[in-house]
């Protein structure tokens, strides 16, 4: 990747706006756009969640996130893709992760979008710490 290209995977310390990210993926060649968003849910395995934070290892997360998107660009017939993941303190209902993919056809757009979110969740060094309404707290290490 060219060093002056903006990164396709980014970490965000604050709530971020999707519109300009989606806008950057618009392309006259692209007929399809698939996106995925992960939001903070109000429950996890039956326990009511009051809030959470994500800890990240930024240097490695950015490198691994870029690798995931580069793989998606190689495996699927897509035009472009981008992913942003929050870290820090999040409230219920806040956006935790966003993935957007543009492609000529919807098969590739859906396939790549699913690939990116699955691989990001499996490989990118970000950890979720949940606080429960019953007072408990816990790191998630699946």
């Amino acid at each position: 990747m060219h060093s002056d290209m903006p990164p396709r995977f980014r970490l965000a310390a604050e709530d971020f706006d999707i519109a300009p990210l989606r806008g950057a993926l618009l392309d006259d060649r692209a007929g399809g756009y698939a996106s995925f968003e992960g939001w903070v849910r109000d429950h996890h395995q039956g326990r009511a969640v009051s809030g959470l934070f994500y800890e990240a290892y930024p240097a490695l997360a950015e490198r691994e996130g870029e690798a995931v998107i580069a793989e998606a660009l190689e495996r699927f017939e897509i035009v472009d893709a981008c992913c942003v993941h929050r870290y820090g303190e999040l409230r219920v209902g806040e956006l935790a992760v966003w993935v957007g993919v543009s492609a000529a056809h919807r098969d590739a757009a859906f396939g790549a979008c699913r690939y990116i979110i699955d691989e990001v969740k499996a490989r990118v060094p970000i950890w979720k710490h949940e606080r429960y309404l019953d007072g408990g707290v816990g790191w998630l290490h699946p």
Binding site: L60, R63, K121, I126, W127, H141
Partner: protein
């Protein structure tokens, strides 16, 4: 015997178990696996090496790699982003 100085990073519950996010370690271990196993015994870290990945200077590495002096070694517990 070769001895190297490393910066070790801990994350998430590994950080909490170690009681620190980072420490400097002087080691004569032959591999990153040995570095972890030593620190696991020291701090009572909850994860066996099989559940972790290891990174050096911001890139994933292999457990059998030899520690290089001045490098930053991170032990990566199972991730839960998304």
């Amino acid at each position: 015997m070769r001895s190297v100085r490393l910066t070790v990073l801990y994350f998430a519950s590994l950080r909490e178990a170690a009681g620190r996010a980072e420490e400097t370690v002087q080691t004569d271990a032959a591999s990153l696996r040995e570095v972890y196993e030593h620190l696991q015994a020291c701090h009572g870290l909850p994860f066996p090496v099989e559940r972790l990945r290891v990174a050096v200077d911001g890139a994933f590495a292999r457990w059998e790699d030899a520690p290089q002096t001045g490098s930053e070694v991170a032990f990566i517990p199972p991730v839960s982003g998304g």
